[in-house]
Amino acid sequence: MNNMISLIFITIGITFNLLGCIGIIRLPDTYNRLQAATKCVTLGCCSILLGVCFHFGFSDAGIKALVAIPILFFASTVGAHALIRGTYHFGIKLGERSIKDDYKEAVK
């Protein structure tokens, strides 16, 4: 029973990872790629770790997988924030379909 639940969680996670990787290939500029990839891949890997937690139950490995979820979450969101800020300061323009840029006058 636990094995079935863990397989279902892992399958959902890999589906989300697949959507994130399609986003990283298909979207037109850096900001949108980072946006799609960070959300999908973070939730996908959290789902895989939750599946691992269900598979091992209440033991050392299960608790370890559960502890890894908040670490992964904070690491990936803060990393994405630092990366998108660095991209803007590096001088990459927003894509040609973008319509608004409030950050430009705040930086100067």
């Binding site: 094995n3 863990s6 397989l7 892992i10 399958t11 996670g13 890999i14 990872n17 697949l18 994130g20 990787c21 990283i24 290939i25 850096t30 790629r33 980072l34 990839a37 960070t38 891949v41 973070t42 996908g44 890997c45 895989i48 770790l49 599946g51 691992v52 598979h55 091992f56 033991s59 050392d60 490995a61 370890k64 997988a65 502890v67 890894a68 670490i71 992964l72 690491a75 990936s76 803060v78 990393g79 994405a80 630092a82 990366l83 800020r85 660095g86 991209t87 300061h89 590096f90 990459i92």
Partner: protein
């Protein structure tokens, strides 16, 4: 059951290869760095699936250490992109 887990493991490794495509092909430097960041997160999923297959728990430790190292690497690369020195 075990075969199905094998298939899932190969799919996850294939997704990492898609990220490698973005690292090799990406037109600008930030694109490559996005690829590196996402690659680091995907490897954690690979570690988790291998820990189910082998029933060993130390591979999850490798995963946690990989998260933290990839986080520090991403922060360093982002610092490089903003054009500052590393001690500011």
């Amino acid at each position: 059951m075990s075969d199905y887990l094998n298939i899932l493991l190969y799919v996850q490794i294939g997704l990492s290869v898609i990220c490698l495509y973005r690292i090799i092909r990406g037109p600008t430097i930030p694109d490559r760095m996005v690829g590196v960041d996402i690659f680091g997160i995907l490897v954690v999923g690979v570690c988790a699936i291998i820990s189910i297959q082998t029933e060993r728990s130390f591979i999850l430790d490798i995963g946690i250490a990989w998260i933290i190292l990839s986080f520090i690497g991403t922060l360093t690369l982002a610092k490089y992109l903003t054009g500052k020195k590393l001690n500011e």
